[in-house]
Symmetry: C2
Subunit: 730 residues, 2 copies
């Protein structure tokens, strides 16, 4: 029986039937007994943790969909309350939740008015309940591992209505504001929201270099010192601003990690791992980096050399076909090697055995940044710093590729290769390729390819299922009112998980082009500005349609990418200085510049190094200044947090002060004592000492009893000064 | 009447008569009426703040000594309790004080057993009470300003017994341990203790470069690459270690500033000052630094040039006298200029108008560091990087000083000045002077000169007083049992305040010599090791005998000096590389090295710059690694603090969990339901929908009622897989 669908329903956005999470459960035919036992355990565990469950058949008969929702609002509230108190205890939030759990009415009011539960909070908490170990009150379900290996994935369902609104709103806006990011945060959690906040901040900051770059392109041309300076300054300001903004956002979103909270000293984490052992394993990063450089670098250098040889030296037969050789080689080797090395990086990070997800992720990102750095920038580095200055010396060696070309190199150095000798165009072309063409290609692979892939895959599957349907009655017969919903869930179950790392990487690599090489082609930022407007929307679309809804993890920063940004900004100061020095031909004053007609040794090494040294230290100095200035500016989030913390403290303190106002000693008052003379008092003290009553300390403090006596004695002493003694001597 | 003194009393350490603070009150003869009125106000204010007061005549008739002690233990306790609670509220201490102020017995137990009051705490609190504004419960006495201008100083009294023990203990010890520093902390407060902790840590760390330097001196000789590398590495390790140690100490001492606590946003500080205005004024630092360089640099360069000319070029009459000219000039101009510039720096810092004492101090230290940097290191820089490489070119220009010498320079370049041409000895001599002789001179000016000055000053004064005594009866007639005590207090009133900045400066400058120039003379660290052993003791002696007892301020770090240390360590990587490159003649491989016989332009600029560039980046890399490693090592203080915080949180959380165990919803249980079929259930749902009871959501979740039904349905679905459908198709 073919499922009948009501076409009207599909048009208006469907509800999610209150489903919090869906578990995609697979049943390998040869393990169905184990899968069945495990399924019983799964439902039991989830039920014990407080979930209502429903099961439905999956797309294929060998998979099930288990639907979960938190069984009661009171469970949800008590869990969220607990999580918030825990946040407060760990210093993550400034104030304790203002409700007492004993009073249900108070709690209802608190959740209704004071701090409502966001969808992200609810989903995060539900996920924690599913995955947390049983002794901590969760169900202990860990997808794909151990006896939960049949649990293929645990994912929340997309909120169609929200997604539709989200995409249509963003497609109409030029500029995303904080409210837009806030909505994402409430739905998808801080981790995804942080990415969009970063993207938005970067986009806003790009406006300046885009405008300035356009002006520089018109007026100054490439390799301009002024552009290089402004560009580096911009990079510093952006980096430091984002560092501040990041903290600000974390605080505004009421959430700031206290990193120590996951430390083994607290006894929270059982795994103990010697830091020395980890350090030893971390040393493996050095050979790893070397391997990356050797493997990827080797491929890129070889392809580079082959390309130059074929395009600029070789003139023999089949040239039109051979031109494609380097591209073919790169397309074959680069992705393969990258995949291999990424896997190696993942394995290495696992061996390093970090205590927290964050630390693991940071270490992994560090490694893949090495890979990305090489694949993204090495080509341009080769052109700028090897091909152009040393080409004349190195190109003759390229005849190793072509035996027949040996004849005209045997004569000596002057090869008939005028093309490549003075070809800074090659550099410009390369930069334009990476900053325009590559961005478009990237967009295509990111959005269009997965979509097409999914379409094809589904068609194939449909045909397969239809074929098997003919031979049996195994196709799930859904209830008509659920049918379209289940169809949608089955589709979502097959989507990939959203990995925010990929998107960050793309943006960081892009920032690298801007920082490192935009002096070659000042329009770079314009291209990126356009690209990033599209990027934000296409990423939103990717999340909404190409990926499962992300689990709303929290985050208080863009994490390890921050270091990568800082590194690229710094390196930018060096490469910009070097590029300007080598390629700037405008002014006659640049005597150290590259003389493209002369020998490469004409470059004044010391002048090049001096300009690099100068630029780098200027950069570091500017960074210190900018950091100082930005730190002094007000940060709305921090201000808010400080105020909150202060109000809380003030309240506590006031309560305490009230309390001890009565207890406080008021000190010896000033009583207008009877008239006394110093002598009389001292006499009295002497008397006390005679009767043996006084220790010297007591005596000392009894000479003047009370403040009024001190005043009297003091005034007497001062009176003596009034007729200065030394005036007598004159 | 001359005061009779009991000589026995003076031998055994005297008690301080329970005096907490002494106010040195001066009465200018022409303002005695104002002084009298102000005195009355003073005693009234102090008394209202809770102090018992006694007044005694000062050394001269125009000064009074006002003795203060906290009137009651209960006042002290309530104040300290309040301060500790405030610390807790501001996150400075992990746990609230464990006593309730309502119960006096509990408070007594708390102060007797749990957390006794240290002397430093008592004195700090008393000082706060004296100086805090009246609306905050203090007496509002601010020495030397406004209508308190007659209050010359407010100082605590030295604890003679402790000082005697302190000095004698330290003079017998090779090595100071944490307990020794702890004692200082309990008496003098964290600020002084931090200095000694730093000194001790530095001393301990010096053992390594002293030993290695000695070995290097024997085996490697000066300008050794290996020594330079090891020295830089050591500097990094020391710097990073101290950064860690500093935090550790602050935490161990139960005290860590939360810098924000003094921020205007909290409303605590009334003064509001635009950060932009401050920023504008901070820009004045640039002309200030320029002025320092111009003035001090000018003097040093001139003296340097004159010295070289006289010693190495000039051969005329009076040479033996003229030799002293540069020293005389330096001795005249340098201190004068330094004093002037220091005053200017103080003034500038005041204009910048910082909100906190700490920020003010940091800004001031930054400025005087510039002055110190020039006076301390410029001479050596000139020798190493100007005199030696460019001497041949520059020295001929020195004949500007001596007209008569013009005859033999008129012939051309080859001056008969073989001496200075190849004289790296000059550099070595200079380094040895600064690292040995200057340290000894410094010791003398720091300890012996003030002592002698005081002796002389007192003798003069005594004679004066005796003279005036003859003409009047104004000399104070002390009670015999107080006489020697008062004499001591009068002496202490005349001592200088202890300024820990001076001592830090000395150590930081010393660290600079080690980091920047010790590659010239590897024995540097040995000299410093000996010097610093003496330094710790002589500083202790200075505090105990040459200065007033310091007010026990708190501190959580060595403050702005940390940046200075970091800067010097970094600069050391550059100077060491340059020095090794320029002066190392050992290996033939150093083709870039300075050829002392040849022209200075033989130095390969690019090689020099490359080696600097390399060294600096190696340094930065090593720093990142060392920082990472040190951060991973355990810090006892932080561990302790974390444990404390965690225990507190755990306790709070447990209490809460107990509370809501009853409230927590247990989730839908698994009841072994009656046998059901999927069809029957779905039928039921359909029925519900017919009666109009169910929204689609309700229906969805009612298909399977309870977990047991989900399990049944799931097992039924799985059972279908057991005979795989697609196996039919084959």
């Amino acid at each position: 029986m073919v499922v009948s669908q009501s076409p009207e329903r599909d048009k208006q956005p469907q509800s999610n039937f209150d489903v919090d999470y869906v578990i995609h459960y697979t049943i390998p035919p040869n393990e169905s007994a184990e899968a069945e036992a495990s399924f019983t355990q799964l439902i039991t565990a989830l039920s014990a943790a407080g979930f209502a469950t429903e099961v439905r058949p999956g797309r294929t008969p060998s998979s099930l969909l288990v639907f979960l929702k938190l069984a009661s609002t009171s469970l949800l509230h008590s869990q969220i309350y607990r999580a918030r108190v825990q946040d407060w205890l760990y210093g993550v939030r400034p104030a304790a939740p203002a409700a007492s759990p004993e009073n249900p009415a108070d709690m209802d009011r608190y959740f209704a008015d004071d701090e409502p539960v966001t969808e992200a909070e609810r989903l995060r908490l539900a996920y924690m309940l599913i995955t947390r170990p049983r002794n901590e009150g969760g169900a202990g379900v860990t997808p794909k591992t151990g006896h939960w290996r049949f649990v293929q994935s645990v994912f929340p369902l997309h909120d169609r209505a929200f997604n539709r609104e989200w995409l249509s709103e963003w497609s109409k806006k030029y500029y995303l504001d904080e409210a837009d990011i806030g909505k994402i945060r409430d739905r998808m959690g801080e981790r995804v929201a942080f990415y969009f906040a970063f993207l938005q901040s970067y986009f806003a900051f790009l406006l300046f270099p885009a405008a300035f770059g356009f002006a520089a392109w018109l007026v100054l041309g490439p390799f301009s010192t002024v552009y290089a300076l402004v560009n580096c300054l911009w990079a510093v300001v952006f980096f430091e601003h984002w560092k501040m903004k990041e903290v600000d956002l974390a605080v505004q979103w009421g959430f700031q990690f206290e990193r120590e909270s996951v430390d083994p000293v607290t006894g929270e984490i059982v795994k103990v791992y010697s830091p020395y052992k980890r350090l030893a394993r971390q040393l493996l990063q050095v050979p790893f980096a070397a391997a990356c450089v050797a493997a990827l670098g080797g491929v890129i250098v070889s392809c580079f050399a082959i390309e130059i040889f074929i395009n600029e030296v070789y003139n023999g037969p089949f040239k039109q076909y051979l031109t494609f050789l380097p591209t073919v080689l790169l397309t074959i080797f680069n992705p393969t090697l990258t995949t291999l090395l990424t896997r190696l990086a993942e394995r290495l990070t696992e061996i390093e055995n970090y205590e927290t997800r964050d630390a693991h992720q940071a270490a992994f990102v560090q490694k893949i940044f090495v890979i990305n750095f090489i694949t993204s920038y090495l080509g341009i580095f080769l052109t700028a710093f090897v091909y152009v200055p040393f080409g004349k010396i190195l190109v003759p060696y390229l005849d190793v590729f072509q035996f027949t070309a040996q004849r005209f190199t045997a004569e000596g150095k002057p090869l008939p290769t005028k093309d490549w000798k003075i070809n800074p165009n090659r550099l410009t072309k390369q930069v334009i390729y990476f900053t325009v063409t590559a961005q478009i290609v990237n967009f295509a692979t990111e959005v269009i390819v997965p979509y097409a892939k999914r379409k094809i895959f589904r068609t194939v599957e449909k045909v397969q299922t239809e074929m098997s349907e003919k031979s049996s009655s195994g196709q799930p017969k859904d209830q008509p009112d659920e049918a379209s919903f289940l169809k949608r869930v089955r589709n979502e179950a097959e989507l990939d998980e959203y990995d925010v790392t990929v998107d960050y990487r793309e943006m960081v690599v892009q920032f690298g082009y801007l920082s490192l090489f935009s002096v070659v082609w000042p329009l770079t930022a314009c291209s990126f500005l356009v690209n990033n407007w599209v990027e934000a929307r296409s990423d939103a679309m990717k999340i909404a349609t190409n990926c499962q809804r992300p689990i709303p993890w929290r985050a208080d920063s863009i994490g390890p990418w921050l270091n990568a940004l800082g590194f690229l900004a710094w390196l930018g100061s060096i490469t910009s200085a070097a590029l300007v020095f080598l390629f700037h031909h405008g002014g006659g004053h640049k005597s150290g510049g590259l003389d493209l007609e002369g020998s490469p040794w004409d470059i004044r090494g010391w002048a090049l190094l001096l300009s690099i040294l100068f630029a780098e230290h200027l950069y570091l100095l500017v960074q210190i200044v900018v950091r100082g200035v930005i730190r002094k500016l007000d940060s709305p989030g921090l201000l808010k947090e400080k105020k909150e913390r202060f109000v809380m403290r003030k309240k506590l303190l006031e309560r305490m002060v009230e309390r001890d106002v009565s207890a406080e000693a008021s000190g010896p008052g000033i009583s207008a004592g009877e008239a006394i003379t110093r002598e009389a008092l001292e006499e009295e003290a002497r008397r006390l000492s005679v009767v043996g009553e006084g220790r010297p300390e007591q005596l000392f403090w009894q000479r003047q009893r009370g403040a009024s006596e001190t005043i009297q004695v003091g005034r007497a002493l001062i009176a003596e000064v009034r007729i200065p003694l030394w005036s007598d001597a004159t």
